[in-house]
Amino acid sequence: MARKDRPIGAIARAGYARAAGLIPMMLFLVVFFIGPLLVNFSQSFAGPGTMFREYRRIFTDGYYLLVIFQTVLLGCAVTIGCLVLGYPLGMAIARASGRLKAALMFAVVAPLLVNVVVRSFGWMVILGNQGVVNWIGSALGLAPLELMYTWWGITIALVHVLLPFMALSIASVLEGIDPRLEEAAKVLGANAFNALRLVLLPLSFEGIVTGSILVFTATVGSFVTIMLLGNASTMVLPLLIYQQLTVVSDWAFAAAMGTTLLVLVATLLWVQARFMRPGWRQARTV
């Protein structure tokens, strides 16, 4: 009987040993991920004065409201830019095959892994007053463009940084769509635009939402690109947090702005989770 028991018992014991494998990562994340977020939250109440003083400062001062508004607006602009440029790119990745696909993947993923500092420096060289754009422009007899230290320059650079995320999110959804659906639409008389509008776009909606949320949250949290390509007039929330920490040393205020940014991002992710409920898409397609 003992012999018969042994293997099954061993499998069960191995199962418990495996279940315990969850513990180290769980503990680590609770301490070093949840811990800092909680400390940040409590720090935002640690300043002198009345309760919620820091939050009242953020939401009653015109300047801070402007900074929040600019942050959200930049997030929207970069998301739209990435969507417009990224959808066809995602389509190209999904449809390519063999070596062309590998090459395309490499070209899209490689920039993603090059440091943001390096890429922003590249954009400084391109967009600067004596930069590549104006060098080409002057050769063509055009008036010099002011792109450095403007929202235009920042938006272009951020679209460059985040475009791969959008293209890959869209490509991964498009790959799962049967190409015959689009062909069927065309056979039944839809032109290319209508086939895209009525067949591909609704089916790839999930990829669009995933990519957009990814790009938006990354934009409202990015600060290296804006630090290098912007100036005091292009202030955003992450940069303001950094300044409050390093220049002004107002920890409570920085923490309150950090919490504000966190709530902004968390709200979006919550909306995404609601939108992505399994039943939702079916309800729409009926």
Binding site: M26, F33, L38, V108, V118
Partner: protein, 263 residues
């Protein structure tokens, strides 16, 4: 693929490559200032950079930090992935979502929180604080790649080993680990690259003697604007490309990048 789409893709690839190609181009200039197209070709800025302790120290720090946080991530994520795939947890999906959630959080928020946190527990300015911060960022990636590979592994192979008398560690070492190796390797390389590139956490948590390479490039760039930055950037680009080619060979880029949206 239609001609129009192909032409468009080529245009976008040029756009994506432009700033990187230009930085590498500027690095080979012989001029004293940043200019493109470069005026004359020389290696003088590379020579300056590889003898400059201002960059060499941070390069060493970055490498050390990348390797350490990668090993920490592996030690945490591999057992967690095994547990998530093979054990039926009541809240399995929720646990997995929580473990991947650092991916969705802007790192600046984590960096600010960590800054306050390590100050309270007396780790401010230490290498350990940097490792913890980077491991929070990299561990979900390792978890993701290992999960992707391990969910395709047939559990009967492991059960056979156990039935035949192998203990849990022996079964892991001889059976499971070789099977999940592609995921482990891809996760490790990805994790190293992420740590090697990371700015917000390193910027806020590092002390002068633990500064990382991207942070030192950033602060150099804020005060100086000369081709030395381009040369050190070009060296970094070279490191990343070599690792990326290894990643493509061992695992396939597509699998690393696409596993995210399926989870």
């Amino acid at each position: 693929m239609s001609r129009g789409l192909l032409a468009y893709s080529i245009g976008i690839v040029v756009f994506l490559a432009a700033p990187i190609v230009i930085v590498v181009g500027v690095a080979f200039t012989s001029a004293d200032f940043v200019s493109f197209p470069p005026t004359g070709v020389s290696l003088r800025w590379f020579k300056r950079v590889i003898s400059d302790p201002e960059f060499l120290g941070p390069l060493w720090n970055s490498a050390k930090l990348g390797v350490t946080s990668t090993f920490v991530s592996l030690a945490l994520a591999v057992p967690a992935a095994l547990a998530l795939v093979r054990h039926r947890f009541r809240l399995g999906a929720a646990i997995q979502a929580f473990m991947l959630s650092p991916l969705s959080l802007p790192t600046i928020i984590l960096a600010v929180g960590l800054l306050f946190f390590v100050a309270r527990i007396g780790l401010a300015g230490t290498f350990l604080a940097l490792v913890a911060g980077h491991a929070v960022i990299t561990v979900p990636y390792v978890l993701r790649t290992v999960l992707a590979v391990y969910s395709g592994v047939n559990r009967e192979v492991e059960e056979a080993a156990t039935v035949l008398g192998a203990g849990p560690f022996r079964a892991f070492w001889h059976i499971t680990l070789p099977l999940i190796m592609p995921g482990v390797l891809a996760g490790a390389i990805f994790s190293f690259l992420l740590s090697f590139d990371e700015v917000p956490v390193a910027l806020l948590l590092s002390a002068p003697d633990t500064t990382t390479l991207p942070v030192s490039i950033l602060s150099y760039l804020v005060y100086n604007y000369d081709p030395a930055v381009a040369a050190v950037s070009a060296l970094q680009v070279a490191v990343i490309f070599v690792l990326l080619l290894v990643l493509e060979r061992t695992f396939g880029l597509q699998r690393v990048m696409f596993t995210s949206s399926n989870k």
